[in-house]
Every structure is written in structure tokens, then in C-alpha cells.
């Protein structure tokens, strides 16, 4: 139960330095905004042998328009997302999610890359990124960059398909189709400083009264954030049908924990999804 860490901190001033430090100290924990890491240290949950402080690597922050979409740097904060017109236009559900994270202080400090790396099943941006077909770019000094579709990034509870010498560098969001409707819903008992009991993101393409494409992803209802292929399949090819929400129970596996119950999560996931689908009709 130590409240402070005595471990060394390696400071990266650029992405290149960060990758060099990562290769040299693969055991060290990358530190972005620190909004999760600091809490874990204070709680005595982790005591890593070192840290790579990324905050000064400003080339890892910011939004760029390229490759038929938006590239969002891993160090881009929630506040940055809320204030970027391109993100507001292309990914309103992501902005909505950013607005619900912690409180303002957390939003000023917490980063998109940090939310992805922390890999919490309750991470608020993660189901939205899944719904938006985001790809996560990771890079290492030795092997360069590669792109991972976010719905294959998580391999288990708080486990990522990222090598020990790799860092999350940026996220790619493809430009949305004009007929796409985006949605974000968070259930957390209070309006700020809430950890989600159920959270979901959705993107539904509506053409001629019919759903032609659908992505639905939920958080806090399984060991990882999950895509919901059964629901998606039930939605596509017909007018928006609230009954499709019934398939959700085949896509999620919630548990009882200190914050809520499996029953509540199941019921609320179905009800909120059903309400969203009803709103499309």
C-alpha cells in the first residue's frame, strides 16, 4: 500500500525518443495523462519498475486530416477532442463520450491513447471507437508502425495485442458515410465522475428507410469492450427494428461487481439499445 513510487521516470520529448526509451526499458510503464496510473499507484495496485513519461512528446498529440479520415494522436486529450471541429463533425459520438469522462480536470489530462492502453472494460471511448471502425496504430523502434482494427486489439481482460517494445501512437477514424447515425450512451448513476455500469456506441447507416450497415459495441458488460455481431446482423437489411435489441444477450456476458449487478447490466443494455433503435424509426 505505498502511496508513492520510487521507480525511475524516463522522459520522452518526441515520438522517436519515446520509441527508443520503450525499446530500452520494455518493463517500464508508459505514462500519458496518468489519470488511471496515478490512481493504481495510490491504491497499491501496481508498482512498476519504471515509467516512460510521454507528456512532453507533443508530436504524439493532435488531429490530422489524411488517408480518407482523421488521424488522432495518442496523446490527444478528451478536451482536445471536444474542441476540435473536425472531430466534432466526423465523430460526434466520440466527443459525447469524451464529455462524460471523469470531470473537467480528468478531461484536460486524460488521453485517447491512454484510454485505449488502460484497456478497462469500462473505458468510455472504446465502444465508440469500435462503432466507428477505428484502427489503432502501434509502433516500435525495431519494426516500425502497424495498424490494428480496434475490435481485434483486446485479447482478454486488460490484455492488448501490443508487443512490449511497441507504443500506441495514433488512431485512424475513417470518414463517416453521410447516411450514418452515431450514438453514445453511458449509464453511470451520476452525471460526472462516474465509471460506467453500461456504456455503448453505435453507428447505423440508414438508406431508403432501411439499415444498410450497423456497428454496435458495448462496454462494462464483458471482460473487454465488445462488438455485438448478432445485434448488427439482426439490424441490417430491414427497417430499424427494436426487437433486434433482444439479440444483445448473445453478444454480452456481464458480471456482478462492486458497482452493479449482471442482471441490471443485461436489462439496461437491452432497454437503452432498444430505445436507440426506436429513435431511428
Amino acid at each position: 500500500m505505498l502511496t508513492t513510487s520510487q521507480s525511475p521516470v524516463y522522459v520522452a520529448h518526441s515520438l522517436d525518443e519515446a520509441l527508443t526509451l520503450r525499446a530500452a526499458h520494455p518493463e517500464a510503464m508508459p505514462l500519458a495523462g496518468g489519470t488511471d496510473v496515478m490512481v493504481f499507484i495510490e491504491a497499491g495496485a501496481i508498482d512498476p519498475p519504471g515509467f516512460i513519461d510521454l507528456w512532453a512528446a507533443r508530436d504524439m498529440a493532435g488531429v490530422a486530416d489524411a488517408d480518407g479520415g482523421l488521424w488522432i494522436g495518442a496523446l490527444t486529450t478528451y478536451t482536445d477532442l471536444e474542441r476540435d471541429d473536425r472531430v466534432v463533425k466526423a465523430a460526434p459520438a466520440l466527443v459525447e463520450a469524451a464529455r462524460t469522462v471523469g470531470a473537467k480536470q480528468i478531461q484536460n489530462r486524460g488521453t485517447l491513447g491512454g484510454n485505449i492502453a488502460n484497456a478497462s472494460p469500462a473505458g468510455d471511448t472504446l465502444p465508440v471507437l469500435m462503432a466507428l471502425d477505428a484502427e489503432v496504430e502501434v509502433a516500435s523502434k525495431a519494426r516500425g508502425a502497424r495498424r490494428i482494427p480496434i475490435d481485434t486489439l483486446y485479447t482478454g481482460y486488460r490484455k492488448l495485442a501490443v508487443a512490449p517494445d511497441e507504443l500506441i501512437t495514433r488512431v485512424f477514424l475513417p470518414t463517416p458515410h453521410p447516411a450514418d447515425v452515431q450514438h453514445f450512451r453511458k449509464v453511470g448513476t451520476r452525471l460526472a465522475q462516474a465509471i460506467s455500469k453500461v456504456v455503448f456506441g453505435a453507428r447505423v447507416r440508414l438508406e431508403g428507410g432501411k439499415v444498410t450497415d450497423a456497428r454496435v459495441a458495448f462496454g462494462s458488460v464483458a471482460a473487454t469492450p465488445v462488438r455485438c455481431p448478432k445485434v448488427e446482423a439482426a439490424l441490417v437489411g430491414r427497417a430499424p427494428d427494436p426487437a433486434a435489441a433482444g439479440h444483445l444477450l448473445d453478444d454480452i456476458a456481464p458480471i456482478d461487481d462492486v458497482r452493479s449487478t449482471a442482471d441490471y447490466r443485461r436489462t439496461v443494455a437491452v432497454r437503452t439499445l432498444r430505445s436507440f433503435i426506436s429513435s431511428l424509426a
Binding site: 500500500m1 505505498l2 502511496t3 508513492t4 490512481v39 491504491a43 459525447e96 463520450a97 464529455r99 462524460t100 470531470a103 468510455d124 450514438h183 453514445f184 450512451r185 453511458k186 449509464v187 453511470g188 448513476t189 451520476r190 452525471l191 460526472a192 465522475q193 462516474a194 465509471i195 455500469k197 453500461v198 456504456v199 462492486v258 458497482r259 452493479s260 449487478t261 442482471d263 441490471y264 436489462t267 439496461v268 432497454r271 437503452t272 432498444r274 430505445s275 436507440f276 426506436s278 429513435s279
Partner: protein
């Protein structure tokens, strides 16, 4: 004049600028840091306490029960609670040993290297199984206290006729959640005595407890700037002080003990859970209450603390603010192997008033009457007699209801429908509802308490300034502004020239504890008398005339020596029999009507508050902005009690959501618009007519919320907290019906 005006808080500047010194801001030279080794099981024998030989103990001091210098007891009502567990532990997180080290990290590390071996015993967690259980926790039968009020012939009247309506109501634990955790520094004095400096409500409680722990009374207790208490710093700081002092005696050095938030939540006292059974007879034609038979069961936890007093207030308030000719209330406070529960704003009243108000709703539902109309029919009026046989006068019940309902005429603030971040836009389905509940709350100590205590205050002229000496602490409620305002008005001088002395028992007399809605009303009146006595003494000293101003009298003095007078509580002749629980239970009562408007989210069971109107009889608003602040803060705490504050226990009855992320209190975004009507029906023995207001705002918001949820979504909840999980279970049980 200062009374009745919004005088800016005298302590405000220092708190806003960070200059105020809280206990953790202070570090005496040579100070050691302490930490506590706590029981990991609910019940068991301590087989051994060993130090890990692999750890460096060279600069660490370990203390166990045998190191307590005097008696191993936290003296309060009974002597059942030890400073450190000796041979047996009776609840999880019970203090077993202490360590002191040069740094906080070293102390926390040392705690992890103390190996306590237990022989576990069967724990008893169910309060309904406690009385007479073979598993003995307290006394002969595990009952801390038992109180019966018998007024009229309740059972006879219940058998005689009317519509009999029965209900059971349950409330859970609630955490006070003061913003500053518990903390204390013990400083050995050169004269062999001890100074205790820390976060607290009641300095003289610590004097009493530490005199036993140290085995001498060469001690003074000093309140640091304190970040809230809500009852949580009434009795518990005696424990923290005893621990710091034990280590200070053993090491000969100052010792600082500050709780971590998770530790504070897991170890310290909470509001008592209760199971409350109501059986009433009502005249179906008039809606009048005929008889009530009420049984209350409170869970005190493993040690007695102040539980009998909590039960007492619960029993007296159990009928709510309604006249009933035949009332029997049987209250029991029992022991379980749960961390001890203790003082918390309202002190038993919020529990029973939730039950009383939900029972009124049940009666209204059964009779097909409007719940507010039923309340109006039965509400106390002047001349009515309470279950303790007290004849009421200056009853504010009807007036607060009318004022609250009038304030409700204003249009509601816009629904949060669709405006909530992450709330799902127009897809959210919300049902609006309104609930009304009414509270009464006895101000000050029960019965002869004040007359027995004889609270004292000194007022002194020192140079051209006046100093007020009391043990009544400012824990955020404004005492350090209210007392100087009272004195300034009596003396006719600017409040800038009046200050409360440090709340240091070496300087101040015993004014009684800072509890029970008594500080402004009871001690404030003692202070007012003190100021009057000072004026008299000054006039006598200089031979001044009745029309000479304070400063004119002062100018005639031939000395600069301080002039200090003492005033003490004057008995108002209350007649009270503590054996029969009959008589004048309280010198006066506060009255409050709360109206809550809310939306129930039918998809999530979450409650979104829109507006809370409260009209409260405060006697006299000594400082309206501080008064409203108390009322609004208390009401918000009541809304937390209503819907989101849930203490989740593990299999050893330790709190497992012991973090601010998981113990959910409302944020400013969750707070409704607050409309606060100050009704002033003066109390003749209160300063300028003031009544106590600290606790009443917490009493019935939860009941108003329950009624509003029922109105909104058609589900009846008779349990607190009404978490989204519980609301959703009720919605699901109701079936698709109106909300599908």
C-alpha cells in the same frame, strides 16, 4: 446589526486562499508518522502478532494493546470499545496494532510486515438474529439499548377498529463523507502532558477519553481547521487521538496519524441501518390516525459508541409530525460483527422519518386519498400532544407546507431530457414525478440533557477587541461567524472586532459537543448571555449609565487588563422522565416541508433531479446565506441517501466500495435547482429566536423522492437507497405495462 444579514464567513478567506491550517498541513519538529494494523476478519481470537524478520524495523515503533499507557478503552457511553483489540477482534478493520516511523511510506510499509494470526470465530451479521444469539457480542443479550414509548392504548385501539395498515421499511448504511479524512497529531509537552491537535467536532469528548487512555489529565485538545464532520467527527476522533497518543508516549515524539480515504471509509462509523415495522389504524372516513404500533430495530455494529442516543432520537421521532392518540414505539439497538455505527446528521431521525413518511404514503394508497391531503389532515397543530406526552406550541407544520406548495407554483426548470452528456439524446425515456414529505426535528439535546450538561461560554474584552471562548467548533457550518455576529449585536460594535478563540480546551470552557442542532440555538444563547454579562460587568467596573455605549464604557476604564465573564446554560425547567420516555422531549422543534420534482429514466432506473423546494422553520435566520447553505447541503446529502449512496459489504462486512469512485455521492451536476424558503417562527430561548437547523434538512428528502418515483413510474420502493438497480428491478417486476 449583523444578525439576519449575510455576513461573510470570518474563516472564509483563509480557507479559500489555502492559509487555513488543517491537521495534515502541520508537521512538528521530529514528528513521526503513524499507521494502523487492522483486523482482516470480522470475529476471531488474536493468536499472535509478529514482526516480519526480513523487514527493517530499526526506525519503526510497534504498539499493541499492552502499550496503551492507561486504560485500554475509548470512554464514551460504556467502556466496551478498546483502543486496540486485546485478544479478540469483533469487526473487520478493527485496530489491532500501531506503527510509527519517520516517513509515511515507511509506516505504511511496516503495516504490511506485521503478521497477525487469528483463530476465526463465527461472525454474527444479521441484526434480526442478534438478540439472544449464542454468539455474544455485548452484555447478556447483544442489546445495546431498548426504549419503549407507550402513549394511550395502541394495541387496544388497533383491535378496536378502523382500517389497519401494516408496512416494513428498511434503510442501509450511509457514510458521512466529510471531505477531510480523520487525522490527529499527539505532541508530548515539556511538562509531561500531551497536546492533541486534529480534525474534530467535540474537543471535550477527547479530553474525557484521553484522560482514561493516558491515565492523567495533563492534556489539552485543539481543533485544527476541520473539513466537515456530519457526526463522523463526533466520537471517532477519540479513537484516532488515543492511537496517536499511545505512540507518542511510547516514542516520546510527536506522532501524526492521518487516515487514507479508503481506510477512513472502511474503518470509521456510518449511519445505522434499520428495519422498521409500522402497524396503524386509520379512520377510513376522516383519514385520521387512530393508533400506531411501531417496532424499530437498529444495527449498532460491534461496539456501543453513541448508539443508545441514536435510538432515543429515532424512537421519539418515529411517528413523524402527525398527531395520533394511541402510540406504542418499541426500539431496539443490537450488536453485530460489523464496524460500529455512530453519529451522523439527524441521528436516527432520517431513518424513522423515511419509514413514517412511506407509511403515510401506504395509508394514502390504501384509502385512495391524496398523500398530501392525508398529511394535512394529521399534521400537528398547536395544542396537540406528542407520543412522549409533550403539548406542542408554536407548531410550524401547516405554515411550512403552505410556503413550500406556494413556491412550487413557479415553473419547473427544463427537463434534463436529452441534454445530459452521454444521456442518449432524444432516445432517453423519462417519466416526471413529484413527491412531498414533511419533517419535524427536535432541536438540541433530549429531555434534561442541556440542564445536566450546563454548557459554558466565556466572553472577554481584550484591548478594544472581544473574544468568545467556547468549545463549539466550526466544522463548516459557520460557528466562527455566528457567535461573533451575536456578540457584536449585543455590544453594538462591528463584527470585525469580535473573534472566536481557538477551540483549545486549555483556553475554552466546556460548551458541550458540537452536535444535535444545538450550537447556534443553545450555545449561541449562552454566548448572547455572556455578551450581556460582559456589558454589565464593564458598566459596573466604570460606574457607567444604562445608555452608555460599549465603547463609551470602555473609554472610561482605568486598566488595559482583559475583562472576562462566564455564562452558562440556564435551565428552562423541562420536565422529562428518562425511564418512561414521557415529558418534554425537546425544548422546541423545527418543521420542514420538502417537495422534490424528478424524472425517472425508464431505461436505466436512474433518477434525475429537477428541483427541490424546502420550506423550513428556522426560528430566526441568524445569517441567511449560511442558513440556506446548511439546508441545501443537508438536502443534497438526503438525496444521496435516497438514490445513490450504497455501502457495499464483503463477506466479512467490510466496505468494498471504499473509494470515491465507487461510493457514489451526488455531484453538482446531479444536484437539482434548490428553492429554499426560510420560515421564522421564533423560539423564545434561542438567540434572537433561532432554532437548530443542522439536521432537519437530511430528514425527509429521501421520503419525498420515494413518493416522486412512485408518482413517476408507478413503482413502490420502501427501502433505501433506491439505487438504479432497485428501481429497475421494480420496473421489471411491474412488467411491460405503461413504460414499455
Amino acid at each position: 446589526m449583523h444578525i439576519g444579514r449575510d455576513i461573510v464567513r470570518i474563516d472564509g478567506h483563509a480557507k479559500v486562499t489555502g492559509a487555513a491550517r488543517y491537521v495534515d498541513d502541520v508537521r512538528p519538529d521530529d514528528c513521526l508518522y503513524a499507521a494502523t494494523v487492522r483486523s482482516t476478519i470480522a470475529h476471531g481470537r488474536i493468536v499472535s502478532i509478529d514482526q516480519d524478520p526480513a523487514f527493517d524495523w530499526s526506525d519503526v515503533t510497534l504498539a499493541t494493546a499492552k502499550d496503551v499507557p492507561g486504560e485500554n478503552v475509548v470512554a464514551l457511553m460504556t467502556d466496551d470499545q478498546p483502543v486496540l483489540a486485546d485478544g479478540v477482534v469483533r469487526h473487520v478493520a478493527e485496530p489491532v496494532a500501531l506503527v510509527a516511523a519517520p516517513t509515511r511510506d515507511k509506516a505504511l510499509a511496516a503495516v504490511r510486515h506485521v503478521r497477525v494470526t487469528y483463530a476465526p470465530l463465527d461472525p454474527l451479521f444479521d441484526p434480526e438474529a442478534s438478540e439472544g444469539s449464542a454468539t455474544r457480542i455485548f452484555g447478556e443479550d447483544n442489546v445495546f439499548s431498548r426504549i419503549t414509548i407507550d402513549h394511550g392504548d395502541a394495541r387496544g385501539a388497533l383491535a378496536a377498529g378502523g382500517t389497519v395498515i401494516e408496512g416494513t421499511y428498511r434503510v442501509g448504511l450511509q457514510e458521512q463523507l466529510y471531505i477531510e479524512p480523520q487525522g490527529m497529531i499527539a505532541i508530548p509537552r515539556a511538562d509531561g502532558g500531551m497536546t492533541l491537535f486534529g480534525s474534530m467536532q467535540c474537543p471535550y469528548y477527547i479530553v474525557k477519553a484521553l484522560t482514561r487512555v493516558l491515565g492523567h489529565d495533563k492534556l489539552n485538545v485543539v481543533q485544527a481547521a476541520t473539513g466537515g464532520g456530519f457526526g463522523g467527527k463526533e466520537e471517532y476522533p477519540s479513537m484516532v487521538a488515543a492511537h496517536a497518543a499511545t505512540l507518542a508516549v511510547k516514542t516520546g515524539k510527536p506522532v501524526k496519524l492521518i487516515y487514507r480515504r479508503d481506510e477512513d471509509l472502511r474503518a470509521t462509523t456510518k449511519r445505522h441501518p434499520a428495519i422498521m415495522h409500522y402497524r396503524t389504524a386509520v379512520d377510513p372516513d376522516t383519514g385520521k390516525l387512530l393508533a400506531a404500533d411501531i417496532r424499530l430495530l437498529f444495527d449498532g455494529g460491534a461496539y456501543n459508541t453513541l448508539s443508545p442516543v441514536v435510538l432515543s432520537r429515532g424512537v421519539i421521532h418515529a411517528m413523524g409530525p402527525y398527531a395520533c392518540p394511541n402510540v406504542r414505539v418499541e426500539g431496539r439497538m443490537v450488536a453485530t460483527h460489523t464496524p460500529p455505527n455512530g453519529a451522523f446528521r439527524g441521528f436516527g431521525a432520517p431513518q424513522v422519518m423515511f419509514a413514517a413518511e412511506r407509511h403515510m404514503d401506504r395509508i394514502a394508497r390504501t384509502l385512495g386519498r391524496d398523500p398530501l391531503e392525508l398529511r394535512r389532515i394529521n399534521l400537528y397543530r398547536d395544542g396537540d400532544v406528542t407520543p412522549t406526552g409533550q403539548r406542542l406550541h408554536d407548531v410550524g407544520g401547516a405554515e411550512v407546507v403552505e410556503r413550500a406548495m406556494a413556491a412550487c407554483e413557479a415553473p419547473l426548470p427544463p427537463s434534463m431530457h436529452g441534454t445530459r452528456p452521454g444521456g442518449g439524446g432524444s432516445a432517453g425515456r423519462r417519466a416526471p414525478g413529484r413527491g412531498v414529505a414533511i419533517a419535524w426535528h427536535g432541536c438540541g439535546f433530549t429531555g434534561n440533557g442541556e440542564a445536566a450538561l450546563k454548557g459554558k461560554a466565556d466572553v472577554a474584552l481584550e484591548g478594544d477587541r472581544v473574544v468568545v471562548y467556547t468549545a463549539s467548533t466550526d466544522i463548516g457550518q459557520g460557528t466562527d461567524t455566528i457567535f461573533p455576529s451575536i456578540v457584536a449585536d449585543v455590544l453594538g460594535i462591528d463584527v470585525e472586532r469580535v473573534r472566536n478563540a481557538d477551540h483549545d480546551t486549555g483556553l475554552v470552557p466546556d460548551s458541550g459537543p458540537t452536535v444535535a442542532s444545538r450550537t447556534a440555538m443553545v450555545v449561541g444563547q449562552v454566548v448572547k448571555r455572556g455578551a450581556e454579562k460582559l456589558l454589565d460587568a464593564l458598566r459596573a467596573e466604570v460606574g457607567g449609565g444604562p445608555d452608555d455605549s460599549f465603547d463609551a464604557l470602555r473609554a472610561k476604564r482605568k486598566t488595559d487588563a482583559p475583562l472576562r465573564v462566564q455564562s452558562q446554560y440556564e435551565d428552562q425547567g423541562a420536565i422529562w422522565d428518562a425511564t418512561t420516555y414521557q415529558g418534554e422531549a425537546y425544548p422546541t422543534y423545527g418543521w420542514s416541508c420538502v417537495v422534490v420534482d424528478l424524472d425517472v429514466d425508464l431505461d436505466t432506473g436512474e433518477v434525475l433531479y429537477r428541483r427541490l423546494v424546502q420550506a423550513t422553520d428556522v426560528g430566526k435566520a441568524l445569517n441567511p446565506v449560511l442558513c440556506s447553505g446548511q439546508l441545501e447541503g443537508g438536502a443534497l446529502q438526503g438525496l444521496g441517501y435516497a438514490t445513490c449512496e450504497e455501502v457495499v459489504l464483503d463477506d466479512q462486512h467490510g466496505m468494498i466500495n471504499n473509494r470515491l469512485t465507487n461510493y457514489i455521492i451526488p455531484t453538482s451536476l446531479d444536484a437539482p435547482e434548490m428553492v429554499t424558503e426560510l420560515v421564522e417562527i421564533p423560539f423564545e430561548f434561542g438567540p434572537f429566536g433561532a432554532k437548530g437547523i443542522g439536521e432537519i434538512p437530511h430528514d425527509v428528502p429521501a421520503a419525498a423522492v420515494a413518493q416522486a418515483i412512485e408518482a413517476a413510474a408507478g413503482v413502490v420502493l420502501d427501502v433505501l437507497p433506491m439505487t438504479p438497480e432497485r428501481v429497475m428491478t421494480a420496473l421489471e417486476a411491474k412488467g411491460p405495462g405503461r413504460d414499455a
